[in-house]
Symmetry: C2
Subunit: 459 residues, 2 copies
């Protein structure tokens, strides 16, 4: 690589395409979302992890193959062959295998971190993006209750963010694999699932044609499959329809039992049926999943696909250890979700995004009193800025306006001598002159109101 | 690079040397520290930023040259010459230059993020590490008050973390440059400062010898410099001694005025003199700084050097824009600080690091009641885990013990029928049987007590 020349000429500042770099106001919205995720995940007993972004390539690509490998950012540094992580699951597998003896199982962790994929740059696709993952890893075994708990956490997270019109769609791979075994199609089940996955895009007729022509299924087999995935209705209705297939295949029966258990516990976990549906068309592409699988769609925006997906797997870390580590997890593609919410106008316009709740404008040359007031307000927990630049009064007010700072305090000789504070509510225009405690109470009450809304708004 | 082979053999899981990967308990301590930083910085009116870890190499190395460039992780991806950021200052400069029109000035931002330097691996040195930066950027000008505000934020941050025995040492480059100009040594001032910087390590005598022998200063000049940097005492005493030099050089006088202003405002910002000292030996290596400079030392561990450094600069983004962007900032090397605190045994052993406050152990086969109780506790804001694995009772208690979960709830038929909860305080061993509200109140009171301590403890 060439040496970088520094000839004294300027370099045009720019951010790489496919990399999200937010202005301060939207960054505040993103921070609010991340904080909500951290708080909710912690409330469900998950511990935060933070693994390196760079790993040895042989560790990161132990599984090998696939589309992902082509997209990996991989490079040499000295003798080392290094790669940037492309998801948070492989680092988790490495972590659990490496630190197995130090962990207590079931091991519940969340991780919110950046991952890297050198995809072709296009609008809404990111090369650096946040994933927010939760997983529960068992040692040898993992009880089915966890498979109901995981979607309940997503329900809590999404409602805490302000979303209501979403649906967590649930299926069970054992049901699918058992059903295909009944039809004598076990060996083609992977191909069939990939074909069925196109149902939403191309419709039932074309899926049927593909099943017959490309996968060489009989007309009867294709018909059976289309009938199966056409099962619709309330969760109780879908389960009732599935009962009609029971007793013919052990795996199917086991999967149906699991699905019934998951549906039953989801109620106790506080998830209303409106936010959750058994959907036999959900398969998840990866062979990795072996039990319950999840996808989450925004009801008003089905076109953007699943915003949160995952499922149950039997063997997290088989490339690193002979320990059997089954688990269940789900992942939110946070950067893409944030982008889509912005595009759809679903990020709150009323949420405070200012860097401060109060701007103090000193009206005296010596700023000691203003500095002391700022210190007192900060000690009281209020986010406070002090405007100390020599500018015209109007420029100072413009600063507060441009940032959306909700309260401005003017502190002149008169106020200092009288021990009072002149404070303007920038939204209502109302100005009060009160003592410190009264001013603080007024601001706190106002902030509680202004901060009451959620970061995501549905129209 | 070779294709990664996946021959079915296992890859030994490992983490790269120089990359910190924490176990869950210390990770909780690290999270607590980061949360304290975020909260404190926000309280001072700083807005969070999150810039990409990867930048175009020509942007990142626009300044060029220096030791840093050799350490950069740099690689090709397709046609692009890319590098991982090695600090948060260059990305800030790029950000401000790029988004200048969208920002309000003074622009106050904090950023806590990973940076990368391919240093030689050695104990306590990291190739991936967090920096936690705050900066205030002016547009054309920036008032001196900001130079007092920055160390006051560090004071608040460190005290919030539990540190008391630290000192923020402050100097002003204008005083140093002015003093050297008085001695007719302006052209050698950079070399002299680098030599004087060795004072703590090699002592005054050897510094004197280096000044005479290597920098070819006269005996008088060397004596003057040693006398100057030997000025000690309270801040008032040091300033009084500096007044003795005033009236001879304009830059010196300006620097002394600035220093006096900074010292005066620091009191109003709530910083006690015990945590803050004027120290004429502080210069900071970089020519970049033009006014107040800071270093922060732990009084009981001077050997680890400065844990938080920074200063005033006149031209943040000169490589990207002709806009004059003066600023002042300070940076905590968070990963190294965390490592050192751990080595010194200064991370609290009593701080709760468990993933949950409560573990519910269901004593019935059907777990609906336990799931409902977990849901109610989570709704009440308590971090709750549900233990659903089929294990012996002792194994379940060991799980709570190993993780340090402070409360365990047993929920059997008797409790469910009576509408009560059996709850054990794992530390005191005390067990209560109370209704939901009473149990919640007891746990909340206990948690408030257990969470009262700071994450850092001094011995």
């Amino acid at each position: 690589m060439d040496e970088i020349k520094n000839s004294g000429t300027r370099i045009a500042p720019r951010t790489l395409s496919g990399f999200m770099e937010l202005l301060p106001a939207p960054q505040q919205q993103m921070e609010r979302i991340m904080e909500t995720l951290r708080t909710t995940y912690a409330r469900y007993g998950f511990t935060p992890l933070d693994t390196p972004i760079i790993e040895s390539t042989d560790v990161l690509l132990a599984k090998g193959g696939g589309e992902t490998e082509k997209q990996v950012y991989r490079f040499q540094k000295g003798d080392a062959d290094l790669s940037l992580r492309f998801d948070l699951t492989v680092p988790l597998a490495k972590y659990v295998a490496l630190h197995y003896g130090d962990l207590a199982f079931p091991f519940r962790r969340y991780q919110i971190g950046k991952v890297y994929r050198g995809e072709r740059a296009q609008r809404g696709r990111f090369r650096e993006f946040y994933q927010a993952d939760i997983d529960i890893i068992g040692d040898g075994k993992l009880d089915i209750v966890s498979e109901a708990e995981i979607p309940s956490i997503i329900y809590r997270t999404f409602t805490a963010l302000g979303l209501r019109r979403f649906q967590i769609r649930v299926n069970n791979r054992k049901i699918l694999n058992g059903f295909y075994a009944m039809q004598g199609l076990s060996e083609k089940s992977g191909d069939i699932m990939r074909t069925v996955d196109k149902l939403d895009k191309i419709g039932a007729e074309k899926v049927g044609a593909l099943l017959r022509d490309e996968l060489e299924l009989s007309a009867d087999q294709a018909k059976e499959i289309l009938a199966f995935i056409a099962i619709r209705g309330t969760n109780a209705e879908v389960i009732a329809a599935l009962e009609g297939y029971s007793g013919k295949n052990e795996l199917f029966d086991l999967g149906l039992d699991e699905l019934k258990t998951v549906v039953r516990y989801l109620g106790a976990f506080g998830v209303p049926e409106t936010n959750f549906a058994v959907d036999l068309t959900i398969a998840r592409g990866l062979d990795y999943y072996t039990g319950t699988v999840y996808e989450t769609t925004l009801l008003d925006h089905p076109e953007i696909g699943s915003v949160c997906s995952g499922g149950r797997y039997d063997n997290l870390a088989e490339y690193y250890t002979d320990k059997q580590l089954p688990g269940v997890g789900i992942s939110i593609g946070l950067t893409r979700l944030f982008y889509v919410l912005g595009e759809q106008g679903m990020l709150s316009e009323s949420m405070l995004t200012a860097p401060a709740d109060i701007l103090i404008i000193p009206m005296t040359e010596d700023m000691t009193a203003a500095v002391s007031l700022a210190t007192d307000l900060r000690d009281a927990g209020v986010r406070t800025q002090l405007y100390t630049e020599q500018k015209k009064f109007k420029a100072k007010m413009n600063y507060a306006d441009k940032l959306g700072i909700p309260y401005v305090i003017f502190l002149g000789e008169d106020e200092i001598n009288a021990g009072v504070i002149a404070c303007k509510d920038m939204q209502s225009g109302e100005q009060t002159t009160l003592n410190f405690e009264e001013t603080l109470n007024r601001i706190r009450a106002g902030l509680a109101e202004k901060n009451a809304g959620a970061v995501i708004v549905e129209k």
